[in-house]
Amino acid sequence: MSRRLHMILGRVAQAIPVLFGVVVISFLLTRALPGDPAAYFAGPAADAASIAEIREALGLDKPLFQQFLFYLRDLARGDLGLSLSTGQPVMQDLAMRLPASLELTLVALGLSCLIAIPLGVLAATRPGSWIDHLCRVLVTAGVSMPTFFTGILLIYVFYYLLGLAPAPLGRLDFLYLPPPSVSGFYLIDAALAGDWQAWLGAAKQIVLPAITLALFTLAPIARMTRAAMLSALSADFIRTARAAGLGQGKILYGYALRNALLPVVTTLGMVFSFSLGANVLVEKVFAWPGIGSYAVEALVVSDYAAVQGFVLAMAVLFVLLNLVIDIAYALIDPRIGLS
């Protein structure tokens, strides 16, 4: 076990140069953006003098290298700077918005797995049957409909026409108070506080955006499960197991699925990371205060600190995610070590 811990620490150490590279590149890239934040934030009637004042106040009149050193110094203190577009410290913005995005993405992925994996397994065990076709139709529809369209369609049907869903006003209707922040996940925090009314409110709000995102992420997971199951089911060891007279359930779930899970987990990691950044449109439609729309807004106005903070946070998240996936591999397949 201590060997495994050692390996994990090794993995984390390997991430440090990666993160430093991300810091340098994000710093240079944001500076390479053609916008002038000082002119933008000086406001509608500013003259050259007031733009210069603001440039000085933001430290943008200093040479690039000096700006970078200041940035590194602040970073070492855990200070990500101040976002100009939201007026808040970037750390505070991320602490508020990252959990919102993570909560939505995780719920959506959970939902997606609940549907996609059984669907993929069923489609693989009965190729060519109606369930295989259903899988294909669902997958094609999910991928081909853009998320903002699915989102607006769901709002139109379930909120506007049927009145079943609550008003799409973000994470929690304004009638409830957000639960005391422990994890930043409303569903967890509300449960911890024992505030079931707020929990129900948060759960109702998350249903439609989670379904929207789940429909989009369904396809890669279901397709990958089906393909991996098909190849696992035609493998020699399954034939041997069948010949040995093992039960269908044991063969399917005990041997085939466990072997098929490896590529599915890899896909899951990829889907997770791209949907975290790519759910901007879902966030916009459902007024979800997530990280994707934050990054886009910050980019549009050349808000350096916010963009850098976002890139860095995502880089850290990716490093962690890869670590988790590697550990998951080792758990699923004992042949894979962590070395």
Binding site: L33, P34, G35, D36, A39, Y40, F41, A42, G43, P44, A45, A46, D47, A48, S50, I51, E53, I54, L58, L84, S85, T86, G87, Q88, Q92, D93, M96, R97, F148, I152, I155, Y156, Y159, Y160, A167, P168, L169, G170, R171, D173, F174, L175, Y176, L177, P179, P180, A193, G194, D195, E283, K284, V285, F286, A287, P289, S293, E297, V300, V301, S302
Partner: protein, 539 residues
């Protein structure tokens, strides 16, 4: 359960007000009428202090709703239905009365004796002095706006006694009094602010950024940046009639489609600044009231840049003006919301502004003018638009492109990201042909000309220079509107502007607001939501 929430709120003092009470959970949004209103907007509020560097336009509403100024504007019927502020009437807000010396250089304000800040302390002239000092000292936009009214330095402001505040001007100006009614010179509780200053931050920018301290009609009960702002009525307000709603929730919803569903369902009572298309369609529905108020002193223009050689030829600029398909643009890009700015009379007899230009779509005349110019064989030019304003600029640019091709001007549409637009169009003024939409807060034509037609000024993105205009604007800017020189000067400006065409007027845009379950919306020149006059529907 409620107890834990309350405890949490009391202990977490960051974005939430410490004394904030839990929301009434039992009242669903649609039944909230009478006490609470929910308004949705696509914009985000990024500060509760207008004077701070980087505070965006949407945040100006906090200065309007939570703070008082010395004076305010009156109310009149708006041209598009509903109400509008009235530039010609100045009304008391924190000041009870004021006197202007005969030479126009000294303004003496008497404060209302019963005016108090939210903490119960009396509003004194010292608070006014501190707040004005702050507005002229912090630099950036607030100081520029103060300068427009001739307010430049702290030594111009003095507190004579507890209730008497005096402004001394370098020269008399008709713009000073109206400039005191714009959102910028708001009165801050100076004692609270001073208690929260630091050596690096003598004006308490950090503190007031998240914690307003004023005397206005509403207090901020909660602010979650990027999500919502909750106003709670200050029942001790003396600045005007007590507002109709006890609590107003401003909720940020970026997607226009979602905002539309919310207002149609009646789950929110007001949707602010809706797209022209939604305004046109919602207007046809029962139950939803739409107000489209033409924005005063604002015109959407096509600007040919004098830096670009062909546009130095007056015939080319006039050819552009005759080639523009005005009606098609107005219907496609604005859905007919706002006011047409073409096809006016040739002779100018009054000082109304914005006004229709004497140009209209006349392709034959445009071709004639092109043939008479030095560029009869045509030329190529990029037509620049801002992606941040693509909703009206893109359809306009496409129609312009098609029309200009007919007179031999080949345009390529250049889309510039919102962040670079200001720098390229206004600061560097390097775009040969572009769309522009300046609107002046102070509603006089000479103020518009000051910003948009004087050489080097920010919104003169065409690099236009005309010696007569320079002199006319300088002569007219500060004289009263009833001065005998005013009307002739202004009409002369109009004549030159329409003849020389550094800006070709397209239409006057409208600010669209939809209401469902609330009424008495009032348009303001600052184009932000003033929640104070709004009342529950049927009240």
């Amino acid at each position: 359960m409620t107890q834990t929430r309350r405890d949490f709120l009391k202990t977490s003092g960051t974005a939430l007000g410490a004394a904030m009470l839990p929301f009434l959970k039992a009242i669903p949004a649609q039944a909230a009428g009478g006490d609470a209103m929910v308004a949705v907007t696509g914009q985000t509020i990024n500060s509760l202090d207008l004077h701070r560097t980087g505070t965006n336009r949407a945040s100006y509403q906090v200065a309007v709703n939570c703070y008082d100024r010395l004076v305010s504007f009156g109310t009149k019927e708006a041209p598009g239905g509903g109400l509008s502020y009235d530039y010609s009437v100045i009304e008391p807000e924190l000041a009870e009365s004021w006197e202007i010396s005969p030479d126009g250089l000294t303004m003496t304000f008497k404060l209302k004796p019963d005016a108090t800040f939210w903490d119960g302390r009396k509003v004194t002239a010292e608070d006014v002095k501190w707040s004005f000092d702050r507005a002229v000292s912090v630099g950036g936009f607030p100081s520029v706006q103060m300068k427009a009214g001739g307010l430049l330095r702290p030594d111009q402001f003095a507190a004579l006694d507890e209730e008497t505040f005096v402004i001394t001007l370098d020269r008399p100006s008709k713009l000073t009094l109206p400039d005191l009614a714009v959102p910028v010179p708001f009165i801050i509780n100076a004692e609270i602010a001073k208690a929260n200053t630091t050596e690096d931050d003598p004006w308490a920018m950090e503190y007031l950024h998240t914690t307003p301290a004023g005397s206005g009609a509403y207090k901020v009960a909660a602010w979650q940046q990027g999500q919502q702002l909750v106003y709670e009525r200050n029942d001790a307000w003396v600045g005007g009639p007590l507002p109709g709603f006890k609590r107003v929730v401003i909720r940020e919803v970026p997607s226009p489609a979602t905002r539309r569903a919310l207002i149609e369902r009646g789950d929110v009572q007001l949707s602010f600044n809706i797209p022209n298309k939604d305004a046109a369609e919602l207007d046809a529905l029962d139950g939803v009231d739409v107000y489209s108020t033409p924005i005063e002193n604002c015109i959407h223009c096509l600007c040919p840049n004098f830096n670009f050689e062909p546009f130095q030829d007056a015939n080319v600029r006039k050819a552009l003006a005759y080639a523009i398909p005005y009606e098609a643009i107005f219907q496609t890009a604005a859905y007919g919301r706002g006011a047409p700015m073409w096809g006016g009379p040739a002779e100018i007899t009054d000082t109304a502004w914005p006004r229709k230009s004497p140009y209209m779509t006349d392709m034959a005349k445009a071709k004639e003018l092109m043939a008479a110019s030095a560029y009869a064989s045509g030329f190529e030019v990029p037509l620049s638009i801002s992606l941040g304003l693509a909703d009206w600029m893109e359809p306009t640019a496409l129609l312009l492109q098609e029309a200009f091709a007919q007179i031999g001007i080949k345009t390529e549409i250049e889309k510039i990201p919102g962040a670079n637009w200001r720098t390229a169009a206004l600061v560097e003024k390097r775009l040969p042909l572009h769309l522009e939409n300046f609107g002046g807060w102070l509603n006089t034509p000479d103020y518009y000309f000051f910003w948009a037609y004087k050489e080097g000024h920010l919104f003169n993105s065409s690099n236009y220079r005309n010696d007569e205009i320079e002199k006319l604007v300088d002569d007219t800017l500060h004289i009263p509107m009833d001065d005998p020189a005013y009307a002739p000067n202004v009409t002369r400006m109009f004549e030159i502007a329409f003849d020389e065409l550094p800006r070709i007027p397209l239409w006057q845009p409208a600010l669209n607001v939809a209401m469902n379950g609330s009424s008495d919306y009032e348009f303001w020149f600052h184009r932000q939501l003033d929640v104070r006059p709004i009342t529950p529907a049927g009240a």
